[in-house]
C-alpha cells in the first residue's frame, strides 16, 4: 500500500506575502539557530527494554561505536530495575549528552505482572521532573538537562514465532508515553524466510492489539521517501558486535561462527545499518520533538487535569489558570486548616488523657503512701508494745532478782548466824 504523504500546511496563513527587492540576509536564521544549539549541546535519551542477555548493551556499543562501561546483570533480580548512565560524546563540533537507560532483570521474574511498572514509573518521573521545572516560578528551561526518554528500543526475543504476552502488555502500557521502536534482537539466529514471516506476525499482532509504535515521519519531502521505505522494514532485525573480523581485506564489525561470519554493517545480514540510519542520522530530532510536543504534553495535560485544572468551566467559559489555581489554593488551605484543627484536637485530647492518667497515678501513689504510713505506724505501735512488755518483764525480773538476792543475802546471814551458833 502506498503511504499517503502528508504535507504539513504552510505556516502563517492569512498573512500577506511580500517580495524582497534584494538580499536581506535572514536566510542565515536556521544557521544562527543551529549554531546556538551546537554551542549548548544536545541531549538524547534512549531506553532499552529487553530480557537479560538479549544484547541491549552490545547494541548500544555498536550503535555509538564506543565502549560504554557495562557489566552483566544476574538473572536473579527480584524486581525489574532501571539503570541509567549518561555519557558525553562528541562528533566533529556536535556535542551529545547521551543517556542510556537499561532495564535490569526484565523478564526474569516468575511473576511478570508488574514488570512494566518500573519502566512506566521511570518515564513518568522524567516527565514529572520537567513539568516541575516548567512550573517553577524561577525556572531555567533553556539549559535544563532534558532527561525525558526520546526513544525506546524494545528488544523482541528471536523466537521466530510471535510476540510474548509480556511484550504486548509492556508496549501497550508505553505507547502513549514514549516513541517505541521495536527491534528483533540476535537476529542472526533466525533464517531469512523465518524472519520475514516473523516480522509480519509481529506487526499484525501490534496492530490487532492497538499498540502504536513510532512511525518515521513523512511530512518532510527530503526524507519522506526513505522513511516510508524504512517503516516497511519494521521491526528491525539487529545484530550487535564490537568485535572486528577480517573479511576480504577489511576489518568489519562482525560475529564469527564456525559456519560463517555475520557482518553487522552488511544490510544483507541484518538491519543494523537501517536502525542507525533511522535512529540517529535521520530522525533523532523528530524523536526529540515528538517526545516534547506529544508525549510530554499528554503527560502534562493529564497531570494538570488530575489536579483539577481546566481551561473551561462547566459552562464552557474560559477559565484562567489563575482562577483555578486560586480556587485550588483555597481548597487546599481549607483542607490544611482542617487537618491542623484535627491535629490540634487530637493533641488536646491526648493531653487530657495523659493528665487523667497522671492524676490516677498520683492518687494511687498517695493511697499507697498512706497505706505504708499506716503499716509503719502499726508496726511502731506493736514495737512499742513489745518494748513496754519487755521493760515490764525486765523490771519485774529485776524486782524478782532483787527480791531473790535479798532473800539469798538474808538466808546467808541467817545461815551464817546458824553456823556460828552451831559452832559455839
Amino acid at each position: 500500500a502506498i503511504e499517503k504523504v502528508e504535507v504539513k500546511k504552510v505556516k502563517f496563513e492569512g498573512v500577506r506575502g511580500l517580495s524582497l527587492s534584494g538580499h536581506v540576509g535572514f536566510d542565515s536564521l536556521p544557521d544562527q539557530l543551529v549554531n546556538k544549539s551546537t554551542c549548548q549541546g544536545f541531549c538524547f535519551n534512549i531506553l532499552c527494554i529487553g530480557e537479560t542477555g538479549i544484547g541491549k548493551s552490545t547494541l548500544m556499543d555498536t550503535l555509538f561505536n564506543t565502549n560504554f562501561e557495562n557489566f552483566e546483570s544476574s538473572h536473579f533480580e527480584p524486581q525489574v530495575k532501571l539503570r541509567a548512565q549518561t555519557y558525553d560524546l562528541q562528533e566533529s563540533n556536535v556535542r551529545l549528552r547521551l543517556t542510556v537507560v537499561n532495564t535490569v532483570g526484565f523478564g526474569d521474574q516468575m511473576n511478570k505482572q508488574e514488570s512494566y511498572q518500573p519502566v512506566v514509573d521511570y518515564i513518568d518521573r522524567q516527565f514529572e521532573s520537567y513539568l516541575q521545572e516548567e512550573l517553577k516560578i524561577k525556572r531555567s528551561l533553556h539549559n535544563y538537562h532534558d532527561s525525558r526518554v526520546h526513544a525506546c528500543l524494545y528488544f523482541i526475543s528471536p523466537s521466530g514465532h510471535s510476540l510474548k504476552s509480556l511484550d504486548l502488555v509492556t508496549m501497550k502500557k508505553l505507547d502513549s508515553k514514549v516513541n517505541i521502536i521495536p527491534v528483533i534482537a540476535k537476529a542472526d539466529t533466525i533464517s531469512k524466510s523465518e524472519l520475514h514471516k516473523f516480522k509480519i506476525k509481529i506487526m499484525s499482532e501490534l496492530v490487532s492489539n492497538g499498540v502504536q509504535i513510532y512511525q518515521f515521519p513523512l511530512d518532510d519531502e527530503t526524507v519522506a521517501k526513505v522513511n516510508t521505505a524504512m517503516n516497511g522494514h519494521l521491526p528491525f532485525a539487529v545484530v550487535g558486535s564490537t568485535e572486528e573480523v577480517c573479511v576480504g581485506n577489511k576489518m568489519v564489525k562482525a560475529r564469527q561462527y564456525p559456519w560463517g561470519v555475520v557482518q553487522v554493517e552488511n544490510e544483507n545480514h541484518c538491519d543494523f545499518v537501517k536502525l542507525r540510519e533511522m535512529l540517529i542520522c535521520v530522525n533523532m530530532e523528530d524523536l526529540r520533538e515528538q517526545t516534547h510536543t506529544r508525549h510530554y504534553e499528554l503527560y502534562r495535560r493529564c497531570k494538570l487535569e488530575e489536579m483539577g485544572f481546566k481551561d473551561t468551566d462547566p459552562e464552557c467559559k474560559p477559565v484562567s489558570l489563575q482562577q483555578t489555581y486560586e480556587a485550588k489554593r483555597q481548597e487546599f488551605l481549607v483542607e490544611l486548616q482542617r487537618r491542623e484543627e484535627e491535629m490540634r484536637q487530637m493533641f488536646v485530647q491526648r493531653v487530657k488523657e495523659k493528665e487523667a492518667e497522671l492524676k490516677d497515678a498520683e492518687r494511687e501513689l498517695q493511697s499507697r503512701f498512706e497505706q505504708l504510713k499506716r503499716l509503719h505506724a502499726d508496726e511502731k505501735a506493736a514495737l512499742e508494745e513489745k518494748r513496754r512488755l519487755l521493760e515490764e518483764d525486765q523490771s519485774s525480773f529485776n524486782k524478782r532478782r532483787a527480791a531473790a538476792q535479798l532473800l539469798q543475802a538474808q538466808s546467808l546471814t541467817a545461815n551464817g548466824k546458824k553456823d556460828k551458833d552451831r559452832k559455839k
Binding site: 498573512v15 500577506r16 524582497l20 544562527q32 549518561t86 514509573d121 539549559n143 538537562h145 523528530d286
Partner: protein, 338 residues
C-alpha cells in the same frame, strides 16, 4: 561548571567514538525542521515623527513592510496620543520563511507635553508577554504558541550631536528593563564623521551614567566568545543610519542612496553610514539571539513577576505528587508540613 538543572546523574563519563556514527546529522535535521516551521520576528520602531522610521525598516527588509507603505490612503497626521499599530507580512529568502511584524508608535514624542508617553508602549510590550503566558499556562496547549512578543525595539535618536534628551533617557530607562532596545542615530547624514563619533561617545556615556542597558546587554553574554563579539558592538553603538528606498547609479553600479546636491549618500557603504552594521547585527548575526534574549530573559522576568503577584506558587500545592509508586505522595508531604 555549576549545577545543571534536571541533571541527576552523579557521574557523566566521556566516551570516545571509535568511528563515525552520524550524530552530526542532527544539525541538518534541526535546520530542516526549523525551515519547515518558519520564523517569527517582531520589531518595534519608536521615535518622533519625521525621523525616518518607516524608511529605515523598509530599507532593512528591502520591502515595504512598514504600515505607512502598505496602508492605502495613509495620512501622516500627528496623533493626539501614542497609538501602537502593527502590521505583518511573510517574507521569504532561500526557502526561509519569516513572518515579520513591524510595530509602529505614531505620536511618540510629538506632543507638547510628552510626559508618560512611554506608557502605552510599556503596556503593549507587557500585554504581549501576558498573552504568551496565558497560552503557556493552558492545560490544552497549542503545538506552537503564536509569538507576538517584541523581540527588538529600535529607538530613533535625532542627530542633534549633543546629548540624550530627557525623553530619550526616560524611555530607554523604562523600556530597557523589559525589552531589548537598539538605539540608532537617525538621519545621520547631517553629522560629519567626527561629530558622529563624538555624539556616539556622549550617548554611551549618558547611557552608562543613567544605568540604561541596551542590546546587547553585557549580563547576557553567554561565554567569552560572545563577550568579544558583543564588546565590539557595544563600543560602536548607537549606529548612525540613513535610510532610503531609492536607487542611483554610482560608478556603474546600482546602489541604494540619497541623492543630494553635494553627493550621493550610499546607504550600504560603510564609509558613509552604519546602516550595514545595523542590518548585520539585527538580521544576519543576532536575530536569533534577539529572540532568545526576549524569550529566556525578558519574558521569564515578566513571568516571575506575574506569578509572584498572583501568588501562584505551584510547589505550594505540592505538585510533586510522586507518580504511581506512592499514591499518597502529596498527602504525606503536607502532613510533614504540619
Amino acid at each position: 561548571p555549576g549545577r545543571v538543572p534536571g541533571l541527576t546523574a552523579g557521574v557523566i563519563r566521556g566516551a570516545d567514538l571509535f568511528g563515525y556514527v552520524g550524530i552530526e546529522a542532527v544539525l541538518d535535521q534541526m535546520r530542516r525542521k526549523t525551515m519547515k516551521a518558519g520564523f517569527e520576528f517582531n520589531i518595534m520602531v519608536v521615535g518622533q515623527s519625521g525621523l525616518g522610521k518607516s524608511t529605515l525598516v523598509n530599507t532593512l527588509f528591502k520591502s515595504k513592510v512598514s504600515r505607512k507603505s502598505c496602508t492605502p490612503n495613509y495620512e501622516e497626521k500627528i496623533s493626539k496620543t501614542v497609538k501602537l499599530q502593527s502590521v505583518s507580512h511573510v517574507i521569504e529568502e532561500k526557502g526561509v520563511k519569516m513572518k515579520l511584524t513591524v510595530i509602529d508608535t505614531p505620536g511618540f514624542g510629538d506632543q507638547i507635553n510628552n510626559e508618560n508617553c512611554w506608557e502605552p508602549i510599556v503596556k503593549y510590550v507587557n500585554e504581549q508577554y501576558e498573552k504568551y503566558l496565558k497560552e503557556e499556562l493552558h492545560v490544552n496547549r497549542k503545538r506552537r504558541i503564536p509569538d507576538t512578543r517584541v523581540h527588538c525595539c529600535i529607538y530613533f535618536l535625532p542627530a542633534t550631536g549633543h546629548w540624550l534628551r530627557p525623553i530619550d533617557i526616560e524611555f530607554m530607562k523604562r523600556l530597557g528593563k523589559i525589552v531589548s532596545i537598539v538605539p540608532v542615530i537617525a538621519k545621520a547624514d547631517t553629522l560629519t564623521i567626527e561629530e558622529r563619533l563624538e555624539f556616539k561617545q556622549r550617548i554611551r556615556q549618558d547611557l552608562a551614567a543613567n544605568g540604561i542597558r541596551v542590546y546587547p546587554q553585557k549580563e547576557y553574554d553567554e561565554d567569552a566568545e560572545d563577550r568579544i563579539v558583543n564588546d565590539r558592538i557595544r563600543e560602536s553603538i548607537p549606529f548612525a543610519v540613513v535610510g532610503t528606498d531609492k536607487e542611483h547609479q554610482v560608478n556603474g553600479n546600482k546602489v541604494l542612496g540619497r541623492k543630494t546636491k553635494w553627493g550621493i549618500i550610499e546607504v550600504e557603504n560603510a564609509a558613509h553610514c552604519e546602516f550595514a552594521n545595523l542590518r548585520d547585527l539585527l538580521i544576519r548575526s543576532h536575530l536569533q539571539d534577539l529572540k532568545d534574549v526576549t524569550h529566556n530573559i525578558h519574558y521569564e522576568t515578566y513571568r516571575v513577576r506575574r506569578l509572584n503577584e498572583s501568588n501562584m506558587n505551584f510547589s505550594e500545592l505540592e505538585l510533586s505528587i510522586r507518580p504511581l509508586e506512592n499514591g499518597n505522595g502529596d498527602k504525606s508531604e503536607s502532613e510533614s508540613h504540619l
